[in-house]
């Protein structure tokens, strides 16, 4: 568009979006954002947000995730959430169901403060956890806790498609009251004999379709044909492990598709060790406890740098995952995709950094 090019040339160096956002944050040329249009708190610790994305949104495949960015006390924080709605939702909006984790900065904030009108940052949908393009038969969807969202999106998508094949939906929660959107899920199965719902409660014996943690008995009871099905699994590490073991024993691991969502465990501060992965150069090194700049140089890399004392910000790079400690003030941080100064940060356990 020549008109757009001219506008960009006139607004150089900041770009058009930096002006438009001051008038209306949803008026963007390049940046994808979304406005919260509806907030629904379905259980005591979950919140369901309906979002209207800006025109750059290209949709998602059921099971994929988006990155959501909010500003909390001046700092932008980004987290991944899987939409829980059907990928065919008619109004083009997306729905996120978010569980407020006790330690979760963003989930707590959204549970507490999300209101219609709030504008958040959004990323295009991403991830390989999605239904096969040719819908196979049968399908087994297993989830635990807040891992329900991507598989619920799959279930809703299949219903919208009028999918006639067998679908088993097995969900684990503490009690009945911890299942977000339980009514809606039950309504999906009404009048559809091909859909089998099973709710298993770990902390409320006798109240669910099944009791206690995942076991082979559960699987046999609700999905006797699991070995010939394609199975989609998302949940806490314990559940993931048990299901994976079961499928391995049955020799059908390749029919199990999984999505991890729990953060990786963080090493104790003060212990050197772990491995530094230098993502862009594809090398790694054992953490010695020295600054990341020194360790990168020891590994034969030559990252840009200047003062080597935290003043000039020349050596700032993106830490993809892991925890680092600031050598000047001792503070630690384990945010993903965080910019850090290499010269004044040292890894705490495993770290992946983009150099």
């Amino acid at each position: 568009m020549p008109g757009l090019k001219l506008l960009e040339a006139l607004t150089t160096p900041h770009g058009l979006d930096r002006y438009l956002e001051l008038v209306n944050p949803m008026l963007t040329v390049r940046e994808l954002r979304a406005r919260v249009t509806d907030v629904h708190r379905s259980t005591s610790d979950t919140v369901t947000l309906t979002l209207r994305p800006t025109r750059q949104w290209r949709g998602f495949k059921a099971g994929q995730f988006v990155k959501v960015t909010v500003t909390i006390d001046g700092v932008r924080r980004t987290r991944c959430y899987s939409p829980s709605c059907s990928q065919y939702r008619a109004d083009g909006k997306i729905e996120l169901t978010i569980k407020a984790h006790p330690e979760g900065l963003v989930s707590q904030y959204l549970h507490r403060a999300a209101r219609p009108g709030l504008v958040i940052g959004l990323s295009p949908a991403d991830g390989t956890f999605s239904l096969p393009d040719t819908r196979s038969d049968p399908l087994v969807l297993i989830s635990g806790g807040s891992g329900i969202t991507p598989v619920l999106s799959m279930l809703r998508t299949l219903v919208d498609e009028g999918h006639a094949g067998e679908v088993v939906f097995l969900h684990y929660a503490y009690t009945e009251h911890d299942v977000p959107l339980k009514r809606e899920i039950e309504r999906l199965a009404e009048g559809r004999p091909n859909i089998r719902l099973a709710f298993a409660y770990t902390d409320a014996p006798g109240t669910g379709d099944l009791n206690g943690f995942f076991s082979v008995k559960h699987l046999r009871a609700v999905a006797p044909r699991f070995a010939e099905a394609q199975t989609y699994l998302c949940g806490p590490p314990g559940l993931m492990k048990s299901v994976r073991q079961r499928y391995k024993q049955a020799g059908v691991s390749e029919r199990l598709h999984t999505e991890d969502f729990a953060p990786a465990p963080v090493a104790a501060v003060g212990t050197a060790g772990g491995t530094i992965h230098f993502g862009r150069s594809g090398t790694s090194a054992t953490n010695t406890g020295a600054s990341l700049l020194e360790q990168a140089e020891a590994a034969g890399l030559t990252p840009e740098h200047g003062c080597r004392m935290g003043v000039c910000f020349s050596c700032t790079q993106i830490k993809k995952t892991g925890c680092v400690q600031n050598l000047l003030n001792g503070s630690t941080s384990s945010e993903e995709d965080e910019e850090i100064q290499l010269c004044i940060n040292t890894p705490v356990g495993d770290v992946t950094i983009e150099i």
């Binding site: 001219l6 006139l10 150089t12 001046g74 200047g306 003043v311 910000f313 700032t316």
Partner: protein, 372 residues
């Protein structure tokens, strides 16, 4: 050294470092929504003034509109370069994790490309502040601003060069990273600056195109009036920025240092050099904002990555620390500091009475094009 600086004992240096580290830590831990709101309010004001200024120049046939337009655009450019650009590029707002205010991604409304600037300013100037032969901001390679710079007949033109630099400040900063003086001395080669030059052309053309072709053309018959208006706004910004910046390190009493005495510096000694190598300007809060808070150059040099709105808040504490250790805290009104700088520019045009020490060699590497 110009004068004998106050000598502290190693224990005093250590204690000074600790006190300033603690002060910094206290402020940095307190950063939050109010600092974010502050910078976004400034940005809103700047963008508003810019749009208003550009708009008014469409009515440039009406002199009051032209004057108001140029005034709005001048203030917009001053805010953009000083309170926003310079400070954002220092990483003062990196903690917000906002790509729009990230030190590595921000570009400012001036000819100098951000990447070149960050190297010569954030790294070289702020790390090696006032070390002769290392800090290229002592005279920017064209002026004699310190007695220990060896006098040459070339420096007879000191006041003229300074005056021209003031008028063309934007392009002076643009060309700064070419280090022409070092190239002339044979310390570096033209080919060392390939990346620097590429960025210079790229940014310089975009800036010139915007101010001197596109906006004038958009105003149609007012082409010349808009072009002159834009040039005037750039000129006003140049004069203002030059004057504020020259008051930061060049008033009488500001110390310079040698490479030998700053070898193996401790953090406390580094802080000490930053304080003695900088000078403040007193004024009201509007003045400080328009100066990008570089009127708190001492606080800025102690903590270059602290959001600038915090400098006035910590200034009394920094001053008290200076008094406690018997260190000078160089401050004064704009007129006093400017007079002092002007006097120095004229005085140093002539050879010094005392013999200078051996001419310092330069051993700071030029900015190589950084592999992407």
């Amino acid at each position: 050294m110009a004068d004998t600086p106050v000598r502290l004992t190693p224990q005093q240096f250590e204690q000074l470092g600790k006190e300033l580290d603690e002060l910094r830590q206290r402020v940095m831990a307190d950063l939050g929504e109010q600092d974010r709101k502050y910078i976004y309010d400034i940005i809103k004001t700047q963008r508003g003034l810019e749009v208003a200024g550009r708009g008014l120049l469409f009515l440039g046939f009406f002199p009051p509109a032209w004057i108001a337009g140029v005034a709005a655009l001048s203030v917009s450019k001053i805010l953009d370069n000083m309170e926003i650009g310079h400070n954002v590029m220092h990483g003062q707002y990196d903690w917000m994790r906002d790509p729009a205010l990230n030190s590595k991604m921000f570009e400012w409304d001036t000819a100098a490309p951000a990447e070149n600037w960050r190297h010569s300013h954030n790294y070289i100037h702020h790390t090696y502040t006032n070390i002769l032969g290392k800090d290229r901001d002592i005279g920017y390679g064209i002026l004699r601003m310190d007695e220990d710079q060896e006098w040459r007949p070339y420096y007879l033109g000191n006041p003229v060069y300074a005056f021209l630099l003031m008028l063309l400040f934007e392009w002076g900063v643009w060309a700064h990273d070419l280090e022409i003086d070092r190239q002339l001395k044979g310390e570096t080669k033209w080919s060392d600056y390939k990346g620097v030059r590429k960025r210079m052309w790229h940014k310089g053309i975009k800036q010139a195109l915007k101010d001197y072709v596109l906006f004038p053309a958009l105003t149609g018959p007012m082409f010349v009036s808009t072009l002159v208006g834009n040039a005037t706004a750039n000129l006003i910004r140049n004069i203002w920025a030059f004057n504020i910046i020259f008051c930061g390190h060049f008033p009488t009493g500001v110390e310079s240092f040698t490479e030998e005495e700053t070898e193996n510096e401790t953090k406390g000694e580094w802080y000490h050099r930053q304080m003695l190598g900088s000078a403040n300007i007193t004024g009201g809060s509007l003045f400080h904002v328009m100066a990008g808070n570089l009127s708190h150059q001492i606080e800025h040099h102690l903590f270059p990555d602290m959001p600038a709105r915090r400098y006035p808040q910590i200034a009394p504490e920094v001053r008290a620390i200076c008094e406690k250790y018997g260190l000078p805290y160089n401050t004064g009104g704009l007129t006093k500091q400017l007079t002092s700088v002007a006097a120095k520019i004229f005085k140093l045009a002539l050879p010094s009475r005392k013999k200078p020490t051996t001419p310092p060699s330069s051993n700071v590497r030029p900015l190589k094009s950084v592999a992407a």
